[in-house]
Assembly symmetry: C2
């Protein structure tokens, strides 16, 4: 797995080069940075931190690692001041973690440059490889392109960004493609579905295996406003933002995408999906705009129950080719999503409910995308 | 400045939404995270860190902040365990920094989600605004697109990435564009020139002001291999990689770009530039391939002196429309670059030497790009 392989890079300097590498600034003193995390052959994982004067170092999760270790766990100090802890073996997958030092200081792992960027700061991540190449693992198949688009939003009176994936071959052809709008969760950003979730890798692999129709994937920003907070409390998005995000998607993002990309623009070639907060956004936007979306999915999040109670089941069944719900049984959102499944069943609305193991974390969202994408744009 | 504005986001939750926000995991406990950095109206900057049991917290630089504070400086602890330090006033610009805790633990600022991603880990960054909109500041002008391309390199037997900027209007037209290859420094990555250096913003602004010809900018990866190291020592690139990077640029990156993008392919419409390690690469690649590049620039780095001593001045003067060197007088690379200037002067090779204030840091590289780009593709 590319981002996690260790490479031996020898330090070669020739005096003939006038200036290639300067004196090491204080911040770059890496003499005491231990290897961390070390993923062993048996899939145990060792975490390490050099913190000689700390009195306590605790391994913490974002949900990813906490689902495995269940509770924050202390590292133990050796005589050199390196703290360490080995956990697992861990199932193959995608894990996020960080440290708490002395009860107050929270930080990602300074040994690990692989980070999940979030709206309120980064968390460390690593991958435990599986025996088969995982859906999220890069393979030497044709690759699509990620486009970072900057656009001016009159609705929000702001510059916004949107990530757009085009499938391999897009540049050389003339055909038009269906479009999947893919929404992130609370605290995440436009880049989350690609840089952390690897949606582009998943789509490349599914396409190489003949499992999906080639499609454009549009990943907008799901918060209003865009600004990154530089301190607590972490920003949350509630119902107050939902209407603004819906308007932004339909009146700014969609027209920009449909004018700049070779996109099919009928409802049968337009899908939406989202994770967590994005699941709620996807369900609302889909329900409010049945004339525009034939495919709707919610990963690890439910919708506005009152709205769905009022909806006409016959109309939903006529309009929606696929209505898809997925949630992990360990996910705090499970009861809510199960309640949504029950409501739809009671209303006789055709839908797929995909309960799975695991919780509120990337391995599930990646799996759900892998299951939902093959159902899209089949006729 | 978008990334640095603070926004008041009220926490709105409606019980009608089945699952929008879960319980706060341990890692996300942001109760004690203070605002940091706080950029005051007078351009002093306050750094803060909650670390109640630490015995020492030191403000460190990458070169950016160290050029101002000169030496690592200690923060002072208050009764609540929050350490703080105010420095400056700082000149408008772009600063990177981090903390050292208790002599051993190095970390970016956990309050600040704005990071420079590097090959060996992240460092925190902030911007002190100027009175005028800086060259690097987003303005509401037409924006180009950043493309993230994944390609298979037969040379390196690996998957590689390259960032490609296309100017505004690229999608809707049919014209072909000149190409600038823009190389990063040691430890940096493909994303550095855009996500940290904001080359796309600089190009958008220069184009909006009528100062440059529209161009494609290609930002490849400058190390072999690609892998991110997860521990010390930080990887360095010396002359051993230079030949491989040159071959990769000419036989993998350039053909991919010229087949996938509407690129002009004659030497008069092809330029190269790089910073630090990339400066040395740019000078070598330019010198070795005068039939392919009419414009060569080196930002804060010199070239292989022996090679340039041997070069034929008449050929250089005939082939190179612009040969451009820039370096800060506080930069550790200054004497090397000045030596290159002296050599070229002695050899009567036409060139521009742009010494400036400042050191080995982004504000200079951004300024140099702003000065070099307007000279390109003028005939």
């Amino acid at each position: 797995m590319r981002v996690l392989q260790l490479a031996v890079v020898s330090l070669m300097v020739t005096s003939a080069c006038l200036a290639q590498r300067g004196p090491t600034p204080f911040y770059e003193d890496t003499n005491n940075i231990p290897v961390s995390p070390e993923i062993h052959a048996d899939h145990t994982v060792t975490f390490r931190l050099f913190a000689p004067k700390a009195s306590e170092v605790i391994l913490m999760g974002s949900p990813g690692i906490l689902e495995v270790i269940k509770n924050p766990m202390p590292l133990k100090r050796d005589e050199k001041g390196i703290w360490s802890l080995t956990v697992g073996p861990l199932p193959p997958g995608f894990y996020t973690y960080g440290y708490a030092i002395d009860g107050g200081l929270r930080m990602p792992d300074p040994s690990n440059p692989n980070l999940e960027m979030r709206r309120w700061g980064p968390t460390s991540l690593f991958i435990v490889p599986g025996e088969e190449k995982a859906a999220v693992e890069e393979r030497r198949v044709p690759h699509g392109t990620i486009h970072v688009e900057f656009y001016d939003s009159p609705n929000l009176n702001a510059e916004r960004m949107v990530y757009v994936y085009t499938p391999p071959g897009y540049e050389s052809g003339k055909q038009k493609y269906p479009v999947l709008y893919l929404l992130h969760g609370n605290g995440q950003i436009e880049a989350s579905w690609t840089w952390t979730g690897r949606a582009n890798v998943i789509m490349d692999n599914l396409l190489a295996d003949g499992k999906i129709k080639p499609a454009i994937v549009v990943m907008p920003y799901g918060h209003v406003p865009r600004e990154i907070k530089t301190a607590s409390p972490a920003p949350a998005t509630g119902a107050g933002d939902a209407a603004a995000i819906e308007k932004e998607l339909l009146t700014s993002v969609k027209p920009m995408v449909e004018s700049k990309y070779r996109a099919l623009t009928d409802r049968n070639h337009r899908a939406i999906a989202g994770l967590s907060m994005g699941a709620a956004q996807s369900l609302s936007i889909g329900l409010h705009n049945l004339d525009q979306f034939a495919y709707v999915a919610a990963f690890s999040g439910g919708g506005n129950r009152a709205e769905w109670e009022k909806a006409d089941s016959a109309v939903l069944n006529q309009k929606l080719k696929v209505l898809w719900l997925g949630c992990g049984t360990d996910d705090f959102a499970f009861n809510g999503v199960k309640g949504m499944d029950d409501l739809l069943t009671q209303k006789k609305v055709k839908h797929v409910f995909n309960p799975s193991g695991g919780g509120h974390s990337w391995p599930n969202w990646q799996t759900y995308l892998s299951k939902y994408a093959p159902l899209l744009f089949r006729d």
